[in-house]
């Protein structure tokens, strides 16, 4: 039995995202642990793990963020294939190698089969590089990785029964990387597999960077020297401190330049738009645009009348 679990803080978000995906992917015997969050994501996920661990028929536990939607109908088939190797401890659809910190995207990302859906500025979709295989770069592939993005994780029964999310690390950040490190430290594999999801969240990675920074430091200290590369960088501690401070400020400078670039571009576009909509020709043709907005609804009414309207009003039968 493949089980699904989610930690819910916003039920409406869960209903419109995760639940839709779970309904699509789940099998008739699947159990869904859609539990209200019980504190941190570490604690909530551990509560799901505790429940799932008791199921003797457990084949896998799928942990999905409330704002993530699985979009593959054959998701369970892919999961079974990925977990057919008993050495596999955890599977995901976004992963990277050469990862040294919780900023896994600073590693060499090998698979990113998801869409980032956002609401800001009229909303939009940002497909990641392996969302569509025909457009994927040469380094896109499934296989063994160092870590996975935690928005969609598939845990083997072994992982469910033997590992726990480390609640010492904080409330939200770094749980995925730390869990993958636990899997690897126990001699099991972390793998990516060919399934996809839509992750709906803000364009901002975090509102307050401080908890993320603290989690970054904790994970680096926890794993330093235990897994090669993790928490490591070239140079003495002094070299690293000075180098990182300069690169931190350089990243901020880049962001400031982007802000200026945006501001100037927005001013330019707003200027053109104002010039357009304040021109005499724009104002004198306002009735035309009003008419053109009205026309589709007139046409729609015409199409619905009389036959279509009758059909839609008529009794519905199984044969349609």
């Amino acid at each position: 039995m493949i089980a699904f679990g989610a930690a819910i803080t916003q039920p409406e978000v869960y209903r419109s995202c995760a639940e839709v995906g779970i309904r699509l992917a789940a099998e008739p015997d699947s159990v869904v642990y859609d539990l209200p969050s019980v504190g941190s994501i570490f604690e909530s996920y551990n509560a799901v793990l505790d429940e799932a661990a008791e199921r003797e028929d457990l084949e896998a536990l799928v942990l999905v963020h409330q704002d993530a939607q699985i979009v593959d109908e054959d998701f369970c088939l892919t999961v079974r294939q990925a977990l057919s190797d008993p050495h596999v401890g955890i599977v995901g659809c976004v992963g990277a190698i050469g990862v040294r910190t919780i900023a896994w995207w600073e590693g060499s990302v090998s698979l990113a089969s998801f869409i980032h859906r956002y609401d800001e500025h009229g909303g939009g979709d940002l497909p990641a590089f392996s969302w569509a295989w025909e457009e994927a770069p040469p380094y896109a592939r499934t296989g063994e990785v160092d870590t996975l993005d935690g928005f969609l994780l598939v845990l083997s029964p072994w992982a469910v029964r033997n590992l726990r999310f480390d609640e010492w690390l904080g409330a939200l950040h770094g749980y995925d990387f730390d869990f993958c490190l636990q899997v690897r430290a126990a001699g099991r594999k972390v793998m990516t597999a060919d399934f996809r999801a839509i992750h709906s969240h803000s364009l901002q990675p975090f509102r307050d960077p401080e908890p993320w920074i603290v989690a970054h430091m904790k994970v680096a200290e926890k794993w330093d020297g235990r897994i090669p590369g993790v928490g490591w960088n070239a140079g003495s501690w002094q070299d690293r401190a000075l180098r990182a401070a300069s690169e931190r400020d350089a990243a901020r400078v880049m962001s400031y330049s982007d802000e200026l670039e945006l501001e100037s571009r927005v001013r330019e576009l707003e200027g053109i738009l104002a010039e357009t909509t304040e021109s005499i020709s724009w104002r004198i043709t306002a009735p035309l645009r009003w008419l053109s907005r009205m026309l589709p609804s007139v046409a729609e009414r015409t199409r619905m009348h009389p036959r279509a309207r009758l059909l839609s009003a008529g009794p519905r039968t199984d044969r349609g």
Partner: protein, 301 residues
């Protein structure tokens, strides 16, 4: 006598921006030193100091970057007022306190009437340092923006720019640290200045990052006003590495947000200009444009 100086790394911006500003602000007896840039910024600036120091009647030396245009006819009067306090050694139009690195704008910024004028995207202007919070000048600060520095006679004759800073960034912070180390003050003044520069805050970020390390090494544990407690380098490295990656993540997400906002505006513009009414009135706009051009022609001649 208030002197003016410029290290001319490019002639064209000097003639276009720095020189007209100097001419507008200078007094009849002002000396103007415009020297070709040679070696590091520190080396040419020291040439300016040497030249100014020879004037016994020196009241101040105003050093401007070639892309800086002074737009303040009262500049000399403001400089004299600020330098009336003998403890003040350097004045600028922008600076900051709580500064730890050459990224001085990460501190608490104080700024006069400084305008950032750019040419990209049709050109325009923004208040300088619009990307950060600013408090008005005057204020005592840790360091000043090197785009414009006004040095007291004491500073001209006593403190030298460090010619060992090879990478061109951080000379301003280094100079201000030396001045403060000698017990003098660094302040911002409400000077009107236009900075003609690209929208890129820093042109070569890799070089700038190297300079960041260079200046940090020089001043490690010696920064005036900072405690020199035992340094836990491991902890500092961990912290800085985490902050670096947080800064990168935020920069990346801001870029995504910027793209999304631009797409939204471009969609609005496209919707407006693709309407039938807009297209059928194209000839009308052409005629109007022609009328405007032809009526402006004779006046322009």
């Amino acid at each position: 006598m208030i002197a003016f100086g410029c290290s001319v790394s490019e002639s064209e911006p000097y003639f276009r921006y720095a020189e007209p500003g100097i001419r507008m602000a200078a007094e009849p007896d002002s000396a103007i030193f415009s020297y070709a840039a040679v070696g590091t910024i520190g080396r040419t600036y020291n040439l300016l100091l040497d030249a100014a120091a020879r004037h016994e009647d020196l009241e101040a030396l105003v050093i401007v970057h070639p892309h800086t245009e002074i737009a303040d006819p009262e500049l000399c009067a403001k400089v004299r007022t600020a330098l009336a306090d003998p403890d003040i050694a350097v004045i600028g139009c922008a600076g900051a306190s709580d500064v730890r690195t050459i990224a001085w704008w990460e501190g608490s910024v104080s700024c006069g009437a400084v305008t950032h004028r750019y040419v990209e995207h049709g050109g325009g202007e923004l208040p300088a340092f619009s990307w950060t919070a600013r408090r008005p000048a005057p204020a005592e600060v840790d360091t000043l923006d090197g785009f414009m520095l006004v040095l007291s006679p004491w500073a001209v004759r006593t403190v030298r720019f460090d010619e060992g800073l090879m990478l061109g960034h951080g000379f301003d912070l280094d100079y201000c640290l030396q001045v403060r180390g000698a017990g003098r003050k660094v302040v911002t003044a409400d000077l009107c200045v236009i900075q003609h520069r690209s929208l890129k805050v820093i042109g070569d970020l890799e070089l700038w990052a190297e300079a960041h390390v260079e200046v940090a090494r020089k001043w490690e544990g010696r920064m005036p006003g900072l405690e020199t407690s035992t340094i836990d380098w491991r902890q500092r490295a961990r912290r800085a590495e985490a902050e670096r990656e947080a800064a990168r993540a935020l920069a990346y997400s801001k870029r995504l947000a910027a793209d999304a906002r631009l797409q939204e505006l471009e969609r609005s513009l496209q919707q407006a200009t693709e309407t039938m009414s807009w297209r059928i009135t194209t000839p009308l706009r052409r005629i109007n444009k022609w009328r405007r051009t032809s009526s402006a022609g004779p006046r322009g001649q």
